[in-house]
């Protein structure tokens, strides 16, 4: 195709390129910027991803980023927090799901978050009000992996389009 032909390819030319939406953002670890980012991710993938997968993606990303935000707020006594941790987030769509990579320069993620875990103990007289976040992340993701390098945490995982994790387990 000549350069002029390329310029005149129009919408049809763009569609045949099979471009898929992706999302990348660097954001400060605050509840408001997490909220805005989740809303923008929903807008970005709305036409390509069904509501069920979108809901699972949104929940997992919220839990991961809330975790960074909450631990940033809990700075140990005697230490000064001079800036909020920065979160780098990428979401890429492929045939069977959405792949996510998240890194942050917040505190070290404790091992027990990544180790397989169950729900918090259900005591009817004193129901747990927390401890659900990492359970939800583990339950809804595939190929969850974590490492720390230098001052950053790196986390990667996939959200399958079909909820195959549960079908296999059933």
């Amino acid at each position: 195709m000549t350069p002029v032909g390329r310029q005149n390819a129009g919408l049809t030319g763009a569609v045949t390129a099979q471009a898929r939406p992706m999302f990348h953002r660097v954001l400060p670890a605050s509840p408001e910027s997490v909220r805005n980012t989740l809303s923008d991710i929903r807008k970005r993938f709305r036409t390509n991803v069904d509501e069920d997968a979108m809901g699972r993606l949104e929940l997992v990303l919220a839990e991961v980023m809330n975790n960074v935000t909450e631990h940033a707020a809990a700075v140990p006594e005697g230490e000064v927090m001079d800036h909020l941790p920065s979160i780098h987030l990428s979401v890429v769509m492929h045939d069977s799901g959405l792949s996510c990579a998240i890194s942050d320069d917040g505190v070290l993620l404790p091992d027990e978050c990544i180790k397989p875990r169950g729900l918090p103990v259900m005591d009817d007289a004193d129901l747990p009000e927390g401890g659900f976040g990492w359970y939800l992340i583990q339950d809804l993701t595939q190929a969850l992996c974590y490492y720390r390098e230098g001052q950053r945490n790196f986390l990667a995982f996939s959200i399958p389009f079909a909820d195959v994790a549960h079908e296999v387990g059933a």
Partner: protein
């Protein structure tokens, strides 16, 4: 914080107007509604159909409100969207709350 409270004879109806019960508002949501619940001391019906998203912070706030209910008084969650229902189901908290579908117009006429 968006919610409307209607005090009927038999129950307190709380219409939740927030579209997201997440980490950004969970604490103030819990504190404000706990105050309302303790003031009225009646069974509570929470109308949830405007809530599109809830994370585990929001779930924690709902559990704290359930625990704040005076003994023997129930809390019903009515008209949850599928996204919100998922969080209760995956954490097994659907067994702790009385969860009901919103009555359709037709059912209300009957």
């Amino acid at each position: 914080m968006q919610f409307d409270v209607t005090d009927t004879d038999s129950a307190l109806i709380i219409l939740v107007g927030e579209s997201r019960i997440d980490a950004a508002i969970a604490t103030s949501f819990k504190d404000k509604l706990r105050e309302v619940i303790l003031r009225h001391r009646k069974p509570v019906e929470m109308r949830m159909s405007s809530v599109d998203f809830m994370d585990s912070s929001g779930l924690g706030a709902m559990i704290a409100l359930r625990k704040a209910m005076p003994q023997d008084l129930g809390m019903s969650l009515i008209g949850m969207t599928p996204n919100v229902e998922r969080v209760f189901r995956l954490t097994r908290m659907d067994s702790v709350f009385d969860i009901r579908a919103a009555a359709t117009d037709e059912e209300q006429k009957e």
